[in-house]
Structure formats: structure tokens, C-alpha cells
Symmetry: C2
Subunit: 292 residues, 2 copies
């Protein structure tokens, strides 16, 4: 049987109140045929990211329940955190995993957005592959606050703000921590490597300060790791840091990472001249485990 | 349905005559339900490694056909190459992949060995998990030539030598090329890092000279990559080379490599502090793709 699987990676504007984050997670997990793959909370960002997957209909239900719970519990008017945000249920992307097209994920985003506006009265922006026009597609543009929502508005919800809902390809979210408390350095490196200021085409980057560790961080989104590889971006940040006499302290993966990105990073760092994915035993066996 | 899968990675003492290597590969691939995963030939080593997998009975048949073809075609009395060898079908390990124990692979090795001696009159040594006693288990001991075969002998076959057949866990074969033509350096580094002279417990290593590139190579077998990781051994060789003012030119994977070894290498080099295999999307989805 062919699977039809969609991933959803909602970002909620709460990373300090564990009870709120738990309640949102439980609302999502209450849908049968949905599996919560990862849940992570960052107090500095004051933000939680819950990664889940399942059939299209199950993912639709779970996304709506999670958004409703967040809208009810999170009050943006008393909110602070280093990560930019526009809503309680801040960003809700749908990602095709198996047997589903990006267009189907965009249609799902429109369906969920309509229900969010109609039932919760939270204005909705559509972004990336679900955007109503290409100039409205980038998340940064919507966050800038000059554009009216696609549904509802122009006034945002008094406590829950707006909800940015969309469809996109698999994205790698990756944070790199530097051995400095100087935020301006992380910002300068982010600016050098991101697409919007002439860096790598498929990289979005922000400089942030992690108050809990008193260290600056380059927070990255790789929107097409097959064209701009993870290891290349890592090496570029390391080189920029080194040029300033700094080092990378450590890094972290947010959400999930595709196996291929790690295989290629390993091959790069191990200087493997004959690598291709067919050399990985699990990949080489796939046809056999399906056939025998 | 649960799969029962065994891998077999025979090493044949021919890496220069393509016709011979092709004939051996075709003999193996002629068995239904066997899949040849990789075939590689090294002229300097004068050696070919064919990696295949399938059901236990299919793998047994394919191994016997490959050995018979090699015994008929390869004449060791006129053989030269930088890699040590004792037979035409030099080493034939069986590796448990799915639903099969190491003990079952050892039983298969004994069965294949008996047939090799009885039908081809090539003496057989059993090694690793198939060894008749623990002091006969290491391949190096059998290659030294002081021990009589387990089946047949003491005289070896006039053209095909002996055949070393055994069972073992998954092994990573990995070659590291240095920017020097000085074989003694590769030998000294190999000696430092291998278990037999006090190095890493699960590393076997040889220094070899690649005539075709005029470069020295450290040729490695990692016999338990979960305990002695690939990236750790790579870094140790790089550090030893650096201490001598040398560098790693490139590396190559022989046969296949487990996904987990590459994931962990990537996490190490990317300095990822929160890595575990559940962060890889394909791993996280496994329960869902089986359930939905």
C-alpha cells in the first residue's frame, strides 16, 4: 500500500510555560493516525516547535486542534522573546513527505486557514507555496507587518495576533552557537551568508542572543538542502567566525533532518571521493527488502 | 512478512583482468533472490570485492558459484599485488543483516566450507565467528601461514591456494590516502592506530602503496563501528599525518557503510550537541510508515 504522508511543523510563541506547551502537544497528539515526531521548546526564543506527521486528513485535524489550543492560551500582548513572531500559533507549514504533492499541501493550508479565521477569528496569512501571490510568499515579508492578512484583518486578534499558514518543501532548521556574547557578530555573519543579502541562495539566517548561555547564535533555515548543502553553510559560518578569531561552540538541529543531508555532510568531512547514497547499506537494501 | 537477509562480501584475488572479475560477478548474480549491491576492483591491491545479499539459501548458492568461478580462473602462482592474500577466493564472510543470527551465519560458513573442500578440493580455513577455536579466529593469524587448514591440506591447492570462510558482524572497510609516496609512513600510522599494536580496539589497519597514484594508503577495517566510530579513526589518522606535516588526500568506502556510522560522523563534524538517530526524518517515520 502506498502511503500518503504530510508533515506539519507548527511554531508556537511559548517556550517558557511548560503547561501551555504540553497542552498544545496533547491537543495535536489527540488525533488518531498522527504521530508527534519531535517537540522542542526554547526559553530564549520563547518558542516551541512541534513536528508531527500523518495522513492528510489526520494532519489537518491535529493542526486545527493545536492552533485552537495556542490561541486560547497564549497572550502575545505580554510576550517577549528573541525570535521574531506575529502570532500565538505563529507559523504553520505543511510539508509533503510521501505520495502527496506540494500543491496538495497548499490546498490543505488554504482549508485550515479558512477554518482558523471562521472559527477562531484569528486573521490568516498564506505563505510560501500557499501564498496568494509570489510577492507575499516570503515569511519575512509577512512578519514585517506592512501587509494585510489574506483572511480577516487588517486588525489582528488582540491576544493571538495572526497565523501564518503555508506549504513548503522539507526545510532544515539548524542553530550555530558562537563563543561570543556579541550579538552584532552573529547578526553580521547571518547577513553575510543569507540569500536576502547576497549569500547562499537557499539560506535564511538571523543573529540572536541566547540569554541563558550568554552566547550569540546564528539561527538558520536551509530551504533547499539539496542545492545549498548543510555542511557548506556550516563551513561558511565556521570560516566567518574564524576570521574574527572566534569559534563554533556547538550546534543543534531543530525539528528533523533528512538522512541525505547527513550522509552528504559525513562524506564531505570524511573526504570520501567515491560516495553516493547507494553505498549506504540501508539504501542499497531497499529494493531487496521490498522484493524478497 | 519478516525478512531473513544475509550479506556476503567475498574478496577475490583479481583486480586487473576485467573478464575474470565479470565472470565471477555473473556467477554470483545468476542466483535468483540474490542482489549484487556493489562490485569494486582495485588494480594496486589486485583484488575485487563483491557485496551481495539475499535469503540464506540464495546467498549460499551464490557464494559457492562465485568461489567455483574464481578457483577455476585465478592462478595465484603468477599473482602479484600489494594486498596480502592466501587464495583465489581469498576471504568469504557471511554477515547477518535481518532476522538471522551470527551463529546461523557461522553454520552457513561451515556448510559452504565443506562443499568447497569436497567439490573443488580447495582447503578451507574458518575464521571469526566460524573459527573452530578462538586462537584461530583472526584473519591475520590464518594469513601468516603457520596453521593448517580446518578442512583439507596441509598442502594448499596449486593454483587457488586456500579459502578463508567465516561469519562476522557488519564491518566498515575504509581507505585513507596520504599525500606521500613513502610507504613506511602509512605503515607507521597503521601500526599506531590498530588494535594489534595497542591502538583502537576494533580497528585493523595496513599501510599500502598505491602504485597507480604513487601515494601511500592506510587501509582500514572497523570491526565494530558502534564502539570505535569511523569519524574517531579518521581524525586519529588525520592527526598522525598532520604531526608529520602530511595531509589526507581523500578516502574511499569499500563495500557498504551503515547509515548510523555516517549519521554519527556528520553529527560529530557538525558539532551537533542534540543529535540522536531519532532526529533523522526517515528513522522517525519508520513506525508511521509501518502503521498507517
Amino acid at each position: 500500500m502506498a502511503h500518503r504522508l504530510i508533515e506539519c511543523v507548527p511554531n508556537f510563541s511559548e517556550g517558557r510555560n511548560a503547561q501551555t506547551v504540553d497542552a498544545i502537544g496533547q491537543a495535536i497528539a489527540s488525533v488518531a493516525q498522527v504521530r508527534v515526531l519531535r517537540s522542542e521548546t526554547d526559553a530564549d526564543h520563547n518558542r516551541s516547535v512541534i513536528t508531527f506527521a500523518g495522513t492528510p486528513e489526520a494532519v489537518r485535524q491535529a493542526a486545527l486542534r493545536g492552533i485552537a489550543e495556542a490561541v486560547q492560551r497564549i497572550d502575545l500582548s505580554t510576550h517577549s522573546g528573541v525570535h521574531p513572531r506575529i502570532g500565538a500559533a505563529d507559523v504553520v507549514p505543511f510539508v509533503p513527505l510521501e505520495g502527496v504533492t506540494l500543491e496538495e499541501c497548499a490546498a490543505l493550508a488554504h482549508d485550515v486557514g479558512r477554518e482558523v479565521w471562521e472559527t477562531l477569528r484569528v486573521p490568516v496569512y498564506f505563505y510560501e507555496a500557499a501564498a496568494r501571490s509570489s510577492d507575499r510568499a516570503p515569511l519575512e515579508k509577512l512578519r514585517a507587518g506592512h501587509l494585510a492578512p489574506d483572511l480577516g484583518g487588517p486588525a489582528l486578534h488582540p491576544t493571538a495576533g495572526a497565523c501564518v499558514i503555508g506549504a513548503r518543501k522539507i526545510l532544515i532548521a539548524f542553530n550555530i552557537v558562537l563563543n561570543t556574547a556579541d550579538l552584532s557578530i552573529a547578526r553580521a555573519i547571518a547577513k553575510k551568508i543569507r540569500a536576502s543579502s547576497g549569500g547562499f541562495r537557499f539560506v535564511k539566517a538571523l543573529g540572536l542572543l541566547l540569554a541563558s548561555r550568554n552566547l550569540a547564535q546564528v539561527s538558520l533555515n536551509l530551504t533547499d538542502y539539496e542545492q545549498t548543502p548543510l555542511h557548506l553553510v556550516f563551513e561558511a559560518v565556521a570560516a566567518e567566525a574564524l576570521a574574527l578569531g572566534l569559534e563554533i561552540v556547538d550546534t543543534e538541529i531543530i525539528g528533523l533532518v533528512p538522512a541525505k543531508a547527513l550522509e552528504e555532510a559525513a562524506a564531505h568531512f570524511l573526504r570520501c571521493r567515491n560516495f553516493h547514497s547507494g553505498l549506504v547499506i540501508e539504501n542499497a537494501l531497499l529494493p531487496l527488502t521490498e522484493k524478497v
